[in-house]
Subunit: 406 residues, 2 copies
């Protein structure tokens, strides 16, 4: 199973479109996703106590119905902290889309990302919905347009697809995402839309999504700020004709394998495109006595501002990594820790049993000057491991966020 070019329009029966309606200046800011037939729906959302209106709207649909057929997205304004007016605008948006597409409004999902505390321009949104519904296409370009329209400070579109077989039927799973992070660690909103022509029940789709999100989007961090709008949706329309997955077994495992492949791929790319990032920073903790311990240590390292700035400076300031492990809340023996830096430029053992190996600073700097860097931390306690993805913290992060609304 391999990642290929593609996105939300790769699976059979899915159409999309993306346009500029003037929420942002001269950049695409609205998208629509549509399935020719009703889909099984799975979704996970931000655990922030403060949830945007579209998050509450979608969560209700996932919980009450578990099916959907369309999704309307906008960037530029988050529709968060907008009170009852924000909720009302969700209802109006869904109704406008329902009318334009000839479906019920409880089959229409909504997603917004952008500035918190501002109302969405409902007239532009409703006009955009009418335009988008007339433009829907199953072409790869339509998927690209949608992926572009949900970008905020992202510098690249993030799409991926994979094909696999379920009971002899060819199945496709595609997705697009923006931003970085979910559930705990993240920046100004992650949105992820996954589409597949697999036939799978709501319960099994939800189970697969929750499990894959744990090892992908929940393992990335850009700045530790958890958005009010984080949303990850999986739409499965069954057009591949496979036997419906309704329980665990070989088909479910194959589907999960494909979903894990796509979500990890998209998660890595979100971390690499973190605001202002010059480098993807991957941290693997090995030799842990539990998965939980490994996760806690790996996340603490990628979230540390001091580690992130050291990576930005190509500086093997490894004490900051041990320090971040120390305040993670996980127990470990510092006198057992081995730390290795690795990249395309080579590999260097920096610390053995918690103290410096007297490594070459020159080699370390060379390794840390690449745009994909891995730190492997062996704590020599057991056989569990975890990988987390983050990025360096650079001047551009400050520039982007100090001036975001201007």
């Amino acid at each position: 199973m391999n990642i290929m070019e593609g996105g939300v329009t790769s699976a059979q029966g899915f159409k999309a479109a993306g346009i500029c309606v003037g929420i942002k200046k001269e950049r695409k800011d609205m998208a629509m996703l549509y399935s020719e037939v009703p889909c099984t729906l799975a979704g996970t959302f931000t655990s922030n106590l403060v949830k945007a209106s579209p998050v509450l709207w979608d969560r209700d649909i996932v919980r009450q119905y578990g099916t959907a057929q369309a999704c309307v997205m906008n960037s530029g304004v988050a529709n968060a902290c907008t009170g009852t007016q924000g909720d009302e605008y969700c209802r109006q948006s869904a109704e406008a889309a329902a009318e334009a597409l000839g479906v019920s409004s409880n089959m229409v999902l909504l997603a917004s990302t952008g500035v918190i505390g501002m109302q969405i321009p409902i007239d532009k949104i409703c006009a955009g919905i009418r335009t988008l519904s007339g433009m829907l296409s199953d072409s790869p370009q339509a998927g690209c347009d949608a992926a572009e329209a949900i970008m905020t400070t992202d510098t690249v579109r993030k799409e991926a697809a994979v094909t696999f077989e379920l009971g002899g039927k060819k199945v496709t799973l595609g997705g697009m995402t923006k931003g970085a992070g979910m559930i705990h660690p993240q920046m100004g909103t992650m949105l992820c839309f996954l589409t597949t022509d697999a036939a799978i029940s709501h319960e099994m789709a939800q189970k697969a999504l929750l499990s894959c999100v744990q090892d992908s989007f929940n393992m990335i961090s850009v700045d530790g700020d958890q958005s009010t709008n984080d949303t990850c949706l999986l739409l499965a329309n069954g057009l591949a004709g496979n036997e419906m997955i309704t329980e665990e077994g070989k088909d479910y495992e194959t589907f999960c394998e494909a979903l894990a492949l796509i979500t990890k791929n998209l998660a890595r790319r979100m971390a690499a495109d973190g605001e202002g990032a010059h480098a993807l920073f991957e941290v693997t903790v090995e030799g842990a006595s539990s998965r939980e311990q490994a996760v806690r240590l790996a996340k603490s390292v990628i979230e540390s501002s001091l580690v992130k700035t050291a990576i930005a400076g190509h500086d093997a300031n490894w004490g900051r990594i041990i320090c971040a492990m120390g305040y993670s809340g996980a127990e470990f023996d510092q006198q057992k820790v081995d730390l290795t830096f690795r990249s395309r430029a080579g590999e260097v053992l920096i610390a053995r049993n918690g103290v410096s190996t007297g490594y070459s600073e020159e080699l370390a700097t060379k390794i840390l000057s690449e745009d994909e860097i891995t730190a492997v931390i062996d704590i020599k306690e057991g056989s569990d491991s975890a990988t987390a993805w983050g990025c360096d913290l650079t001047h551009e992060y400050i520039t982007i966020n100090a001036d975001y609304r201007s």
Copy 2:
């Protein structure tokens, strides 16, 4: 009771000195603090699992003896992640100081701050100890020299003193500090040294220190990274001649009042001098139903990278504040939240009951352009409150930390 000029040499019987021994280039990097008579000792230390060798050394003295007479400090190298060699260098440093000062080595405290993972240059340290012991002075300048010698990326010395009466006797409490943060939120090491001529038992001094640290150093954050070396020490030599404080009561309360005044003053100044900071950012959460809830909300706001960059940009991007409250882990009703920004330039109510008031962006930007900014958040649930102090996140933070070792 008012803060006045002064520092660790303000109280009777305390002497200090600070010099450059060549750990850093052409900047003071070693200091010594000495009391003419043995002192009652209280101390609190980093809760990071990874503790520097001098932290372990001091913690043993606090726990086993509760008394001390001298302290040797260095900046430039942290003596953390240095293995048994680091512990051995602590023993050698304390013995060198003990010999030079004619005290027992278990009366000598140690503190280091700087790069993690490097060994301290023990020969320079021992030579420095001999020099410093011959230079000790109770002059204000000697206190300044010591305060300067413990600075790393600090841009200003941080000293303060206060005088008060205990049972008719004039008592002085002075202190110096460097860095920012403790226990949870902090940057590359906070060190704080408090000296007083008050007579107070080890138990009551420890109790007073722990309580005051909660409301001061534990309420500041520069970058959320908790150091391996954070140390806060209180030395009380009893030379004021007051009746020894051995229990709660009026004298203990007066002493705590003075200690709170000094520790809050120093904490605020550490936050204001956070790495790269242009502005002190104070956040007060009012109307909370518990102190714990107020603390959690206030800290989450000052620790948010997105809030900190918004402050750097003088941008009233208030949604980021509500968002940071939302992921704090504390419950509250977003529809009750009032948010006010305040500074020398004025005051503006930004949000009422969780939604924008339609405030003037121009006025908000003017208020946020000052170098001391306060956000008052009323959650209208009860009568508890908490104040936390942080700073903006600027380009200089990146510059300082990406190049720290160079």
